[in-house]
């Protein structure tokens, strides 16, 4: 088991290396630079800025320089947010995105799984159609529609909850963004749970269990649930990585200081170091979360073992 974890982590190194290299060169190939904007700076000012950030050197040299710093754990300075290093920006933003994301994914599991199970058991009934219809709507309506609607209704009109801001993670500030973030996940999880539950319920060993005369709840909880969770678990890997690295839309709309916005802002501002920092961080996180999910697999399915 430990050997397996070690091996997987080792395999992650070339993966990350490729991700970093490709992103680095793609980004430098994009037209426009960090100091191109509405105002053209006088030539000597621009030259000095480029030199300060080593952008006057050939790209391959910049790459080596970047990799050298990265190996020492230095993500470099942000070109845009000059009072903070990229490491600091990520370390300030990530806990916020993580907290929000975990709540959202927790809520999604708490609601989505039971809904999917109920729909599967009551297949083709009114309950099933209602649950699946709602889930379909949940998938179809994008969160840039849901979020402002929630803010308008519960924040502005009813004034029950704050419209925006983080307020050091006060629960009242968290309700709307967590709900907005989880709605699509609830829908996905419910649909996935239903499909996989239906498949499992149709399998041979469930028929055997029923033939033994087990009560329906024992069949569901004791035999069907664990295998039915497998597809949900494999979906959770990328979903968690995606959700805890922040949602640009939700963070913008509710004014939350997570790291989601850095992906887009960094790219638009050509803030090379910030873009690279988030890419490396996101890449490493995906590798890690996928590993955890694979380990979870073995707990869910006895056929999967990582001993060798």
């Amino acid at each position: 088991m430990l050997y397996y974890v070690f091996k997987r982590l080792l395999q992650a190194i070339p993966t990350l290396l490729i991700v970093i290299t490709v992103s680095f060169f793609l980004m430098h190939m994009a037209p426009g630079g960090p100091f191109d904007g509405e105002r053209q700076l006088p030539a000597e000012i621009e030259a000095n800025l480029l030199a300060t950030y080593h952008l006057d050197q050939p790209v391959w040299k910049q790459y080596l320089l970047y990799m050298g710093n990265l190996l020492q754990g230095d993500f470099g300075p942000s070109f845009r947010y000059k009072d903070f290093s990229v490491t600091e920006l990520i370390m300030q933003g990530f806990p916020v995105s993580l907290e929000l994301g975990l709540w959202a994914i927790g809520l999604a599991l708490l609601i989505g799984m039971p809904l999917g199970i109920i729909a599967a058991i009551k297949r083709n009934s009114t309950v099933d159609y209602m649950v699946m219809g709602t889930a379909l709507a949940g998938v179809a309506v994008p969160n840039f529609v849901i979020a402002p609607l929630l803010a308008l209704v519960f924040g502005v009109l009813l004034a029950w909850l704050p419209v925006g801001g983080w307020n050091d993670g006060h629960w009242r500030n968290m309700v709307l963004p967590v709900v907005a973030l989880s709605i699509q996940q609830i829908a996905y999880i419910a649909r996935m749970m239903r499909a996989s539950m239906i498949e499992v319920l149709g399998s041979q060993y469930i028929r055997t269990a029923r033939a033994k005369g087990l009560a329906e709840h024992e069949v569901i909880w004791g035999h069907a649930l664990r295998p039915a969770l497998l597809p949900v678990a494999s979906y959770l890997g990328p979903a968690i990585a995606g959700i805890i690295t922040g949602s640009v839309v939700i963070e913008q709309i509710f004014g939350i200081p997570g790291i989601g916005r850095y992906f887009v802002q960094g790219a638009l501002n050509r803030d090379y170091t910030l873009v690279m920092g988030t890419v490396v961080f996101y890449g490493a996180l995906i590798v890690l979360v996928n590993l955890i999910v694979d380990l979870l697999y073995s707990a869910l399915d006895p056929q999967i073992r990582y001993d060798n």
């Binding site: 994009a30 037209p31 426009g32 630079g33 960090p34 100091f35 191109d36 904007g37 509405e38 105002r39 053209q40 700076l41 006088p42 030539a43 000597e44 000012i45 000095n48 800025l49 300060t52 845009r80 947010y81 000059k82 009072d83 903070f84 920006l89 300030q92 933003g93 402002p148 803010a151 308008l152 924040g155 502005v156 004034a159 704050p162 419209v163 925006g164 801001g165 983080w166 913008q252 709309i253 509710f254 004014g255 939350i256 200081p257 916005r261 638009l268 501002n269 050509r270």
Partner: protein
């Protein structure tokens, strides 16, 4: 006795309850996260909102934007307009109680012009003697034209007479920085905990992307006149979020609001919705480089004639902007904006004249003119660009629209890869020269590469003219020349947009949209 105490307690409690706790806190949404709070490392208007509350230059802004004495109490200007001698307030202090000395200004000017500081905006101080040479390391920092004659007397020498220089001294590039703190903490001096400033407010807390909190600076020379105890700045990029938070009462001032909501706001929050003329021009650059059809002034004039500004501002945008026929916006001091002579014509007459010009230039329905129009990503820019295409169509112009994000857009403009391109300019200071210099030959922001020796000569003459009104008249001649050449296509003058809690006093609209919290208070 006990009863009396209880009564007293009740009175105090009631007193506290009757004045809301938040009454002395101003909550304001700014348009983005500041790049820094170090005045030498910023370049955005939202950063100015914060920096201008934390710091004060030799000159500062009144509530209406007028320039008034700041750290300098009084000053003398030499007859040739090149030597300024400032007398600093004896009671000017940093927020840690240390005196603000003339030496702090010398230190600050040398620091922003030091190439190692990598200040984007260092060039705003180029009027100071040797500033450019110091920046490019051709001269020693000691040769910079700024000198502390004693602790409270500062002398600044300019390269040449610069009439707008006093105005510029209120800009954040000319703020003092606390030498004793910068030398102690280096680049980290502007972080919360380290930062010391000399303005009406002092930094207490900065939570990246969330809020910046500043409290009244007890050491500020006029702190008795400051009504607010605390200012909280919320960086909110999404205009709709700012609007929602304003409606929910979470903020008192929203700097800017979504333009699409203008109608709704006028109907529902008329007392809070503030729009006012702003020192900025929205225009389209026309490429005057050889090989482009727009190098022909007849084509440029025809395009300008066929551009119906009123339709753009009223029907397409409908957000309160004023149609522009001049390049310099109205309201600039010592200046009367010019207009092309055809402004008097009716739209039909303009179109007739435009068709004639196009024919003369060799274009018409049989020989259509294909133009490459570039704009940067924005719904409004897209709509205006499409409208221009439709307005020019009767002249036999076929417009190809090219859209790109802002960094790419301006790179393309700079490289001259366009015929017509969207641009905007917000004045750095309240002076016509700041706009007209964009049309001087070889200037970096002259994207269309317009070049007219006569125009350049007039601008040079204006630069050497001491009398402000006379100087304004010379620049007006230059603008008239450029407009007759249709050097650019002005579309509209920007307006400033703010949502302001009606209970707020001391908020005055002004052409630069500068609002210092020092002047603001809540109604009792």
């Amino acid at each position: 006795m006990l009863k009396q105490r209880a009564l007293l307690g009740a009175c105090i409690t009631l007193g506290l309850l009757s004045t809301p706790l938040y009454a002395d806190t101003l909550r304001i949404s700014i348009m983005g996260e500041p790049a820094s709070l170090d005045p030498h490392k910023i370049s955005g208007t939202w950063e100015n909102d914060v920096a201008g509350d934390l710091f004060e230059g030799l000159i500062t802004e009144a509530a209406d934007g007028e320039r008034i004495p700041g750290v300098a109490e009084s000053w003398e200007i030499s007859d040739d307009g090149t030597v300024y001698t400032f007398h600093l307030r004896e009671n000017a202090r940093w927020s840690d109680g240390e005196p603000v000395s003339a030496e702090d200004f010398v230190f600050a000017f040398r620091r922003i012009l030091n190439p190692a500081t990598a200040a984007d905006y260092a060039y705003l101080l180029y009027p100071v003697k040797n500033a450019e040479a110091v920046y490019t390391s051709e001269a020693d920092p000691e040769t910079l034209g700024i000198e502390a004659l004693d602790d409270h007397t500062l002398q600044i020498t300019l390269e040449r007479s610069t009439p707008y220089f006093l105005d510029q001294l209120s800009h954040y590039t000319a703020y003092p920085v606390p030498r004793h703190v910068v030398e102690e903490h280096g680049d980290a001096w502007s972080r919360p905990g380290n930062m010391v400033s000399n303005g009406p407010f002092a930094l207490e807390r900065w939570q990246s992307q969330t809020r910046i909190e500043a409290v009244r600076n007890a050491h500020y020379h006029s702190h008795d006149d400051v009504a607010l105890d605390r200012v909280i700045y919320f960086p909110i990029e999404e205009r709709n979020t700012a609007l929602n938070r304003f409606r929910a009462g979470e903020i008192d001032v929203a700097r800017d609001f979504p333009t699409q909501q203008y109608g709704w706001l006028q109907d529902n929050l008329p007392d809070a919705t503030q729009t006012a003329p702003f020192l900025g021009i929205y225009y389209f650059v026309v490429n005057s480089r050889d090989g482009h059809p727009t190098a022909d002034p007849r084509v440029r004039e025809a395009l300008s004639l066929a551009t119906r500004r009123e339709v753009i501002t009223e029907q397409i945008l409908g957000t309160g902007e004023e149609p522009a026929y001049s390049f310099v916006p109205p309201g600039v001091s010592h200046y009367e904006p010019q207009q092309p002579e055809w402004v008097e014509l009716s739209q039909d007459e303009r179109m007739a004249r435009a068709s004639e010009l196009m024919q003369d230039a060799g274009y018409g329905p049989d020989n259509p003119l294909e133009l490459m129009l570039r704009y940067n990503t924005s719904e409004d820019h897209r709509r205006v660009s499409i409208a221009l295409g439709a307005m020019w169509e009767p002249l036999g112009v076929e417009v190809d629209l090219y859209n790109s994000e802002v960094a790419v857009h301006y790179t393309d403009l700079r490289q001259g890869d366009f015929d017509v391109g969207r641009a905007g300019w917000i004045g750095d200071y309240n002076d016509a020269q700041n706009f007209l210099s964009l049309l001087e030959s070889g200037v970096a922001n002259n994207y269309g590469a317009y070049s007219n020796p006569e125009f350049d000569a007039l601008m040079a003459q204006a630069a050497d003219t001491q009398d402000l009104d006379e100087r304004g008249e010379i620049m007006a001649q230059a603008e008239r020349l450029a407009l007759d050449d249709a050097a650019v296509l002005p579309i509209y003058y920007y307006v400033s947009r703010n949502l302001v809690n009606p209970a707020l006093q001391g908020w005055e609209n002004n052409i630069e949209d500068i609002h210092r919290s020092r002047w603001v208070s809540f109604e009792d």
